[in-house]
């Protein structure tokens, strides 16, 4: 019985103990729940406070910005000082300036290309005309000329003209440095020095490139007395005389001039060099009529040319030993101020006197003692007139007269009417007819030729003072 009672007590005690444990868990749970609720409430209240403060802060910021904006717009102009305004103005100017550079290409040189093709028909062959071009039909790529120019430094500019030309015999391109020279820009005393390879200043058209001539071919007298373009390797000094009237004086020295070859001597003396000079002036006859004139001289005291020229008798040879050429040029221009792009008239004439010394070998056999030096005087000239009647069209007439430099009895006349159609400043067609008449002494035959010249320019192309 005791056992039963003990078991019953034990049985009752266990549930009581279990009930006590259950109460504690519940209490703990309630405490935790309370704490959680307290935490969430505090968090909610703080968030509400934060939101409220943030809103206040935003409102205040907006108010301040509005006030600042109002103050700025209503500020008087005096708030910007003159210095600030100048500074800002300078900055704007510098931006505008950066868009308006005057010099082409800045550090890159100005580059241009000129192309010139001559389509022609000659009634006689080259033996009869003395030309290096064939008779009959001919297409001649006379030049593909690359022009490059830029300032070297504050004291000089440099330029080069590289010309590709079809070889008369093979037709292959023949590259030649026509000019590559340095030209000073800041010498004192109105002086300008040019050095390198360039076209020396002699006469009016000798230093003009082919495509800039007013007609298709270079005048005969320049071809023979100078040798075409007045190319030289040398130095040239130009002086603008400091007076109110235009007067320009040029002097130069070089190792050759035109087609003249250098001395074959191993040691060249001073007299082996070529010397040239020119004095030119200008007159405003009226506001529309202009007159330019000049005298030029070329002298090489000791040419020592190896090349000999066989005379028409087929035996006697001439070798140039001293070159003396003098020239007088005149150019009369009608340039109406009001519409000079549409109207114009030019009359240009150049007379050259050749007074060379030749070594004459009567029998053509060298070093047999019969050679002698002979002075040979000759005269040649060209004269042309061009009339321009619209921006696109002009026409004119060229007259050539030439006494052969080695024999003044050998005379050539040429008559060349021409018409030019300038589609634009960079694209030009010219049609020219030339009748050449030679007397019996020349050994050449009269010739009729028609030329069609097509010249074009791409890229930079400036008009220098010489090409005006």
């Amino acid at each position: 019985m005791k056992k039963i009672l003990m078991l019953l007590c034990l049985g009752l005690a266990v549930p009581l103990m279990q009930a006590q444990e259950t109460n504690e868990v519940e209490q703990l749970k309630q405490q935790l729940k309370q704490m959680q609720e307290n935490f969430e409430r505090v968090q909610r209240e703080q968030k509400e406070q934060i939101d409220s403060l943030t809103k206040k802060l935003d409102d205040l910021s907006k108010q301040q910005q509005q006030q600042a904006a109002t103050q700025t717009t209503s500020a008087p102009p005096a708030a910007v000082t003159a210095d600030q305004f100048k500074d800002l103005s300078d900055k704007v100017d510098s931006v505008v300036e950066s868009q308006t550079k005057e010099l082409p290409g800045e550090f890159n040189p100005a580059i241009g290309l000129v192309g010139e093709t001559i389509f022609s028909y000659n009634s006689k062959d080259s033996a009869a005309t003395g030309s290096d071009r064939p008779g009959g039909f001919d297409v001649f790529q006379r030049s593909v000329e690359l022009n490059i120019a830029a300032s070297v430094d504050p004291f000089a500019k440099g330029y080069a003209v590289i010309n590709g030309q079809a070889d008369a015999a093979t037709g292959e391109a023949d590259l030649d440095v026509e000019e590559a020279a340095l030209q000073t820009t800041s010498l004192p005393g109105n002086l300008e020095l040019k050095a390198g390879r360039f076209f020396g200043e002699f006469g009016r058209l000798a230093y003009i490139h082919d495509h800039e001539l007013p007609f298709v071919n270079r005048p005969l007298v320049l071809d023979q007395y100078i040798g075409g373009e007045s190319q030289t390797d040398g130095a040239q000094l130009n002086w603008l005389v400091p007076m109110s009237h235009y007067l320009s004086v040029t002097a130069g020295v070089g190792d050759h001039f035109g087609d003249q070859q250098g001395s074959p001597n191993e040691f060249r003396t001073f007299t082996g060099l070529s010397f040239w000079g020119r004095v030119s002036t200008y007159f405003d006859l009226t506001s529309d009529w202009q007159l330019e004139t000049g005298v030029s001289g070329l002298w090489n005291p000791d040419t020592e040319q190896n090349d000999t020229v066989v005379q028409p008798n087929g035996v006697t040879t001439f070798a140039e030993r001293e070159r003396r050429v003098a020239g007088l040029d005149v150019k009369l221009n009608y340039v109406p101020l009001v519409n000079n792009q549409f109207r114009g008239y030019t009359w240009g004439t150049e007379v050259l006197f050749s007074d060379n010394r030749y070594q004459v070998d009567p029998d053509g056999v060298p070093f047999n003692g019969d050679e002698f030096i002979q002075r040979q005087g000759a005269i040649g000239l060209y004269s042309y007139m061009t009339y321009k009647w619209s921006r696109e069209w002009s026409g004119g007439f060229l007259f050539d007269y030439l006494q052969n430099a080695e024999d003044h009895n050998s005379v050539t006349f040429a008559y060349s009417p021409y018409v030019t159609w300038a589609l634009s400043h960079w694209n030009q067609l010219r049609l020219q007819y030339t009748h050449t008449d030679n007397n019996a002494e020349s050994g050449l035959k009269p010739n009729d030729a028609i030329y069609l010249q097509w010249a074009w320019i791409i890229g930079a192309h400036s008009h220098g003072w010489q090409q005006r």
Partner: protein
């Protein structure tokens, strides 16, 4: 003997006086300007202290002033060169500058005054390819036909004069302010007179008028030239006439240096009125000064506009 001595002294005194006068004359600032508008403004600002020579007389094309060698000594002795800029003088000024051998007026030197400084250019080409004609790479250079932009040129000229002759700075500044005030008054007058013409369409021979049109609210309809520096083709003239008729363009402007034949034909075909307008002072009679020229342009346009 005494008489001879007196004569000698008188002669010496006269010589001395002449020598004294000569430096005073030489002290003038010698200014060369490319065009006559700049010359007029320079005279207004420089007053008695400047001796101004303009390469153009007023009737020339602004891009085609003849390169006369007689300009060279003038430029050789100049203290200052004022030019329009934006490449306006590209066809003649570089060669003249080279020939002048005057370091004081070369590009970048204090005596080289580019009056376009501060002018925002119009019509700056996207390409300088010659398929677009003789384009100006830096933008249209004819800003002097806008009198407000002419004020910028006046300021640049004044700055240039002060740089080369700072001793006259106060006088130059006073003269400039007086000239600008005068110009401002005229601008107000011109603006008022031109108000009824707002939206008026017109064509011209060369692209001279974009700044003028923008200033006075006109519509610059086109040019007779095919492209700048390129004469019109028959097709271009036909198309221009057709579009002018369709858009009722009432005015054809011919600048004095261009031939009248084609503008007259276009005016006749379209029923538009042909007017001859100068592009710089001296271009037509009675326009010796910049203000006279602008007066002439404004009143001619007003008279030609449909009522």
């Amino acid at each position: 003997m005494k008489l001879k001595l007196f004569h000698l002294l008188a002669l010496a005194a006269t010589g001395l006086a002449v020598l004294t006068v000569l430096p005073a004359q030489a002290a003038k600032v010698r200014v060369v300007t490319t065009l006559t508008d700049l010359a007029d403004i320079t005279r207004n600002i420089g007053g008695d202290h400047v001796d101004v020579f303009s390469l153009a007389t007023g009737v020339e094309d602004t891009h085609g002033v003849p390169m006369k060698p007689s300009f060279v000594p003038k430029m050789n002795q100049a203290d200052m060169l004022a030019l329009v800029g934006f490449g306006c003088e590209h066809a003649f000024l570089p060669a003249l500058l080279e020939a002048s051998k005057n370091p004081r007026i070369q590009y970048g030197k204090p005596g080289y005054i580019d009056c376009s400084k501060g002018v925002v250019p119009r019509d700056v080409p996207k390409s300088t390819d010659h398929s677009e004609g003789d384009v100006h790479p830096y933008g249209n250079p004819h800003y002097m036909l806008d009198p407000v932009l002419a004020k910028t040129a006046a300021k640049n000229i004044c700055e240039g004069l002060i740089t080369v002759a700072p001793q006259y700075a106060d006088e130059f500044t006073r003269n400039r302010d007086a000239y600008l005030a005068k110009l401002d008054a005229k601008i107000a007058e011109w603006t008022e007179v031109m108000k009824p013409l707002q939206g008026l369409k017109f064509v011209s021979y060369h692209e001279h008028w974009p700044y003028f049109a923008a200033r006075f609210g006109l519509v610059y309809f086109g040019t007779i030239e095919l492209k700048p520096g390129v004469d019109p083709t028959p097709r271009h003239i036909t198309e221009l006439i057709a579009s002018m008729k369709a858009e009722h363009v009432p005015i054809v402007v011919r600048e004095p240096q261009f031939p009248e034949k084609v503008p007259a034909l276009i005016a006749e075909q379209t029923g538009a009125k042909l007017v001859k307008l100068p592009i710089m002072p001296g271009g037509v009679p009675g326009t010796k000064t910049y203000i006279e020229m602008m007066d002439y342009i404004i009143h001619t346009m007003v008279a030609a506009a449909p009522k």
